[in-house]
């Protein structure tokens, strides 16, 4: 795919027969033999971890669907039946619900890694964009899935988020009724959400295949951020199997241990108690909050006083990611060698945590209790409302202002000529240590 010649030689009769008809064994063998940069650190294991998360979610989801009833009168009870009466049902259910959280932990780390090492920069823009599509589909899938148990948070979360559609000017109201299948969220809505929730993971699977295809075409990035030319492959790369299959496997096991702690010892810690109250359209919970992984976007939504403005800002926060490759002006990929940008990046990560925290707080609550402040426009300055706005501002500024500006102005550190040799080179690091023939190789 990336121009590497296939090294596979079919040995047995069956292999030869298949090879001329459907070369899947060749495909698999080439995948495993792919020369991969030998300096990948543990941050790079999250791609494999994510693949396993997707498989786990699909497998547990399919078996849950054998028992779940997507009807407003039976949904809540059917989930509890799974928990109590279905053999091993409690395990499958808790793996699925906590698996969603683990999926998002992994995807955030995976995205932050790509951000840090410049994996979104040329020639890897498509990998990044496909990744953004996967992320968006994941959020949609998670939102749909959370409605299914038909608890109070399920219902009211669906109510709040679908109401956003109603905020779109002109077409909002009719589209809202079309989306819900009626004037309010009811059986029609639940049924279609179940259908879509079953569908989207397979769409994600397809986009993941494209994502990996793009990866193999452009080649795997590495922490130094330099391209590895063909003649350096022997020294700077190792075959994917067994070097990275085993490393990914080990990282996966550590990840699974953390997963197991949640599933077996605190299965409801990441959820909300109100979702164990059956949905009641006549009673609103005291605080409607989405699951933790949506909190930063929920915060951004509430930061803007205008309803439609909030919707634009929320979707914009995801949309801005798509154009990131063109916002970053730096010639250097990896932030290892970009000391100024690294500081802004660290603030960005902390800011994300702050945004998430804000998403769960009441806008009126004081950030620093007791500290005197003054009233600004529509709220106290010492309130989560304004902290959220500040954080939202930094979030967008990071992409729209800081990335372009710092890329042009900063002085990067010297970048090594190659991964293996501790030889430093000049700032021309994009093309690697071979200025004359900068081949686009992994």
């Amino acid at each position: 795919m990336s121009g590497h010649e296939s090294t596979y030689v079919p040995k047995t009769g069956i292999e030869k027969w298949l090879d001329t008809r459907l070369p899947i064994v060749r495909f698999g063998a080439d995948y495993l033999a792919l020369p991969t940069p030998k300096n990948l650190n543990y941050w790079y294991t999250f791609g494999a971890i994510l693949s396993i998360c997707l498989v786990v979610q699909i497998a547990t989801g399919i078996f849950l669907a054998m028992h779940y009833q997507p009807n407003t009168a039976m949904a809540f009870a059917s989930v509890e039946r799974i928990m109590r009466d279905v053999n091993g049902g409690w395990l499958i259910r808790y793996v699925h619900s906590n698996g969603a959280s683990m999926f998002f932990v992994a995807v955030y780390i995976h995205m932050l890694r790509g951000l840090y090492y410049g994996s979104y920069k040329a020639p890897r823009e498509m990998i990044w964009i496909l990744g953004c599509i996967i992320f968006f589909l994941m959020i949609a899938t998670a939102f749909l899935g959370y409605v299914l148990p038909w608890g109070q948070m399920s219902y009211w979360g669906a109510e709040v988020i679908t109401n956003l559609v109603g905020a779109i000017p002109l077409i909002g109201e009719p589209v809202l009724i079309w989306l819900r299948g009626g004037p309010a969220i009811d059986n029609a809505t639940l049924n279609r959400f179940f259908s879509l929730h079953y569908l989207l993971p397979f769409v994600i699977f397809g986009v993941v295949v494209l994502h990996l295809w793009a990866l193999h075409t452009a080649g795997q990035n590495n922490p130094v951020g330099i391209l590895i030319p063909r003649e350096r492959e022997k020294k700077d790369t190792v075959p994917f199997h067994p070097y990275y299959t085993v490393k990914d496997g080990f990282a996966l096991l550590i990840f699974l241990m953390m997963f197991a702690v949640f599933v077996f010892f605190m299965p409801n810690a990441l959820g909300h108690a109100d979702n164990y109250i059956p949905a009641n359209p006549l009673v609103t919970p005291a605080h409607i909050v989405p699951e933790w992984y949506m909190l930063p976007f929920y915060a951004i939504l509430r930061a803007v006083p205008d309803k439609f403005g909030g919707v634009v800002a929320m979707f914009g926060a995801i949309g801005i990611l798509f154009v990131l490759p063109w916002l970053d002006t730096s010639k250097v990929r990896s932030m290892r060698y970009r000391p100024t940008m690294k500081i802004f990046y660290l603030i960005f990560v902390l800011n994300g945590l702050i945004l998430g925290w804000c998403g769960a707080q009441l806008p009126d609550a004081a950030v620093v209790p007791g500290m005197p402040s003054f009233f600004l426009i529509d709220g106290q300055l010492n309130s989560y409302l304004w902290l959220t706005r500040l954080s939202t501002l930094y979030y967008f500024a990071f992409f729209v202002v800081i990335m372009p500006f710092v890329g042009l102005k900063e002085t990067p550190l010297r970048i090594p000529l190659s991964i293996s040799e501790p030889v430093l080179s000049g700032p021309d690091a994009m093309s690697g240590a071979v200025p004359a023939q900068a081949e686009k190789k992994g």
Partner: protein, 185 residues
């Protein structure tokens, strides 16, 4: 496989010959653990398709056999299946008691299929033991039941006499609780 890859591309990475078996062992051990993990993951998923606890919880049903007139049958439902409760006439009863075992495809005496003291009452599942169709009462060559699907003939004790069905109509677990009332299941 792993060794040959390592040796070909990175000769400096190979261990001395003497350590080859130890290196093999650790990879095999890890691989074996992976297989074990695979089984541990697959089993709960597959087992979840087995009947759930509420399905397994025996549902029982009660019926007063005094309601069945002599020579007639009543069909009730139990665990989603039909159950025939038949009150045999004296003539029918005498005939099935007299039938020699040698003439039966699935030898079983009528006494084994009824409760002592309540011989005329026969309780059988109403599904043909061939492929599950419901046999018709009173039809067939043996005065019992006839299954229209593939032509199995049962006698008045529900035993298979002619046709493709392999065994007699199944007598479910039941007991007389008070007087003429039976509890099935």
């Amino acid at each position: 496989m792993a060794e040959s890859v390592v040796n070909a591309e990175h000769p400096e990475g190979g261990a001395p010959e003497g350590e080859a078996t130890r290196r093999d062992f650790i990879h095999i051990a890890a691989g074996a653990a992976a297989v074990g993990a695979g089984v541990m993951v697959a089993w709960p998923l597959i087992n979840s398709m087995n009947p759930a606890a509420d399905t397994l919880a025996l549902s029982t049903t009660e019926f007063d056999t005094a309601k069945v007139q002599e020579g007639m049958q009543v069909v009730i439902t139990w665990q989603g299946k039909p159950v025939f409760i038949r009150n045999r006439t004296a003539a029918e009863l005498q005939k099935v008691l007299a039938d020699p075992m040698s003439s039966l495809k699935d030898p079983q005496s009528d006494q084994d299929r009824t409760k002592p003291g309540h011989e005329p009452i026969l309780v059988v599942l109403g599904n043909c033991t061939h492929l599950g169709c419901i046999p018709t009462f009173g039809a067939g060559d043996y005065g019992g039941w006839f299954c229209p699907c593939h032509g199995s003939h049962y006698d008045a004790s529900g035993r298979i006499r002619k046709g493709p069905a392999p065994t007699n109509l199944v007598v479910p677990e039941y007991a007389f609780t008070a007087g003429s009332t039976i509890k099935i299941g």
